[in-house]
């Protein structure tokens, strides 16, 4: 369950950046997560719900851009996503060469405004 640890860090990081930007409520977190991280999306959603409770992210939506593992075909040179550990080029059917990446774990941006969340209000009092 590294999902919970990661969700907690996401919420904390988003809250910090919202405060720094003078905002009180985070409405959306945009993050990028590589397939190599093996984050389970259902677990990630539940973990995020637990982690955001009582914070400035209490009403926020988590939007995840999944970055696939990628490979390059040695014949036609096209770059393709490796889905279900299938390393064959969709056109040439030969094994692709692994490319770097797929291990991303980043918070890209947040949407925030100045509405008070119940959690943030509690926090301030």
């Amino acid at each position: 369950m590294h999902e919970l640890a990661i969700a907690q860090q996401l919420v904390e990081l988003a809250g910090e950046h919202a405060r720094r930007a003078g905002a009180r409520r985070v409405t959306r977190l945009n993050c990028r997560i590589g397939a190599l991280r093996r984050l389970e999306s259902d677990l990630m959603s539940s973990a995020f719900e637990i982690a955001r409770a009582g914070t400035a992210c209490e009403e926020a939506e988590l939007v995840v851009e999944c970055v696939p593992i990628r490979a390059r075909c040695p014949i036609c040179a096209q770059v393709f996503a490796v889905a279900d550990w299938n390393w064959r080029c969709p056109d040439c059917a030969v094994e692709g060469e692994p490319l770097p990446g797929g291990d991303e774990l980043e918070l890209i941006s947040i949407d925030a405004d100045n509405e008070l969340t119940p959690g943030a209000a509690e926090h301030e009092s």
Partner: protein
Amino acid sequence: MNVPIVRKVLEKNDAAAAQNRERFDRLGLTCVDLLGGAGSGKTALLEAVLPILTRNLRVAVLEGDIATTRDAERIAALGVPVVQLTTEGGCHLTAPHVQRALGELTLDELDLLIIENVGNPICPANFALGEHARVALLSVAEGDDKPAKYPLLFRGADLVVISKCDLLPHVDFNLAAAKTDLRRVNAAAPLLETSARCGTGIDRLAAWLAHLVGSALRIDAAGSAVRTNRK
């Protein structure tokens, strides 16, 4: 408003890991994170390699576990200083866990600190601890599909140990297929086939670790590590 951020999600852990690393470097201490699934043979591998290493190196172990002190007791039985870290349900060690445990060791009297991570092939691979190198275990009893299932574990490894190789005749493990998958996620790390039970590959593991410590060890014909010119 939209606030651009682009930050690594685990930057707090990474910052604590960097502090640990700085501390190790200041002391001239080498730190290795040993990772692998539950039952992949991490403790047995340590039991096999520690007696070779401790002939010439001052070694301590941080033993990460969800609960119980059983593994730490196995290491203590070898006369090696060991600190038990229980995560109380947590599935991985973090850099702050390690930071707190370091206070219980006399670090300036050590050459090598081995952190045996919580038995889990997924979560610990996400968390840097400040280690100089990662050793990832794959036991033949787990199955040859594990590099595909847990790619991050092997992607980040500086050495991949295929353990329990004495079981190869008895299990359905395609060594060639496993190696192909390992190479897909990590083209550079050496692959070492070992058996803690039979002693296969243990001298080579000791040599790899000793080389990492930079102690110019060589492995003599009898398979024992000999310090030649350290300091």
